[in-house]
Symmetry: C2
Subunit: 242 residues, 2 copies
């Protein structure tokens, strides 16, 4: 499977006869590793040794590491489909998808690293995209307008996840190192606050950014409020298009 042509999801790989290994088990193992130790811990060698298999055996099921990463992403995306549980009201539906996207990003932080690498268009990802568009369908606006709404909400959500994840990642996971890090950074931040160079963020520097309450919902409802105002009556479910 060394002659890959285009992205995984755009190919039509004949499935191998398989004995013990399978594409699925490889993807699951890789996801488990990524969830536990981060994306850097996912290597062909580490996945293979986790499966008690020789590294090169994986290449019978995935043609490259990039393929494996794409498959991992799409696997997670598949868990983000609400299906029947998608609320009918467009606003409630958008909220549900946005929250789910947020939850999944926080649960699998490595997915956002893959989002920055290249656009993902696997079947499950398309399913999620379809659901975004289904959510706004009741507004009965043009495809273009619907896409603008969807990208706005999605972009905000992704940006939020990135910020929170980056915040978490900065502090070392080892408890001892974490304490040291916090001490070093705090003293740096208070030094910066005392310097007077940053008058408008002095309180933030002194109390730490992390202590700020979560404001995901605030930003989300700001976006949705405006959409509601421009595309529908304040209480309507959206039948009044145009």
């Amino acid at each position: 499977m060394a002659e890959a042509k285009g992205p995984v999801w755009a190919r039509n790989d004949r499935e191998p006869r398989r004995r013990t290994l399978s594409r699925e088990s490889i993807v699951y193992a890789a996801i488990a590793l990524a969830d536990r130790d981060g994306l850097d811990a996912v290597s062909i060698r580490s996945v293979a040794s986790w499966l008690d298999v020789r590294p090169m055996s994986l290449y019978g099921h995935v043609s490259s590491k990039d393929d494996l990463l794409d498959l991992m992403f799409d696997q997670i995306a598949g868990q983000n489909v609400l299906g029947d549980q998608l609320p009918q009201h467009w606003r409630t539906a958008l909220e549900a998808i946005a929250r789910r996207t947020r939850d999944q990003g926080l649960a699998h932080p490595w997915t956002i690293e893959l989002m920055t690498d290249r656009i993902q268009l696997g079947p499950n990802t398309l399913r999620v995209l379809d659901e975004w568009m289904r959510a706004v369908a009741p507004l009965s606006v043009s495809t273009e307008a619907a896409w603008t709404i969807v990208t706005a909400v999605n972009d905000y959500t992704v940006g939020y996840v990135i910020r929170v994840v980056a915040q978490r990642r900065a502090v070392p996971s080892d408890a001892r190192a974490a304490g040291e890090w916090t001490a070093t950074v705090n003293s740096y931040l208070t030094e910066r606050a005392d310097s007077g160079d940053h008058p408008h963020i002095a309180p933030l520097l002194r109390h730490g950014f992390a202590t700020q309450p979560d404001s995901f919902e605030a930003g989300l409802s700001w976006i949705l409020d405006s959409i509601e105002q421009s595309h529908a009556g304040p209480t309507s479910a959206g039948a009044a298009g145009r």
Copy 2:
């Protein structure tokens, strides 16, 4: 300089006597490489050979590659400070910073990869943060409320940049490979569209997502509209707090 304690910006490295090399020149070289060939092209060895210097010589000025990356990020962030040119009206100011952030993200796509790695708090980054807060100061709301506004706008902007960058990155830079990629992906997408599995995105799949008009401003003004409604009179500059 092999005994790093905490992030670069939180340390107080005595500056070396330097003959030919300098921390600055290393950072500039690394940025040039990243801009041209992406973040993966930045390695200790590649930067060194670009500067016509032996790899290990760099460690006299930066104590690790991560440090170098952080310094690169903060260097770019420094170019994002508007200073005197920051508009006085809070909304215009936020728009200016958001657009600048977007432009810089698109110009140096590798910066967003660093954002996902760990939170950046270098001096220039703090300066930018200070400017965000300065922009909303005329609203004279609580620090907490101001932070909510800033993060909302910033999160949206970062999410937007990520999506656009990922879209650009997916297609290979080599013209020949790009054509092949587009053909493969397009036929995959139309196959998906024909499958009927994704009824709500069929038009998007058929015409390609890339043909959708840019909607950064739309999402931005949605957020700002709501902020305006909840925190100030529609035309006021914001003196009427609360």
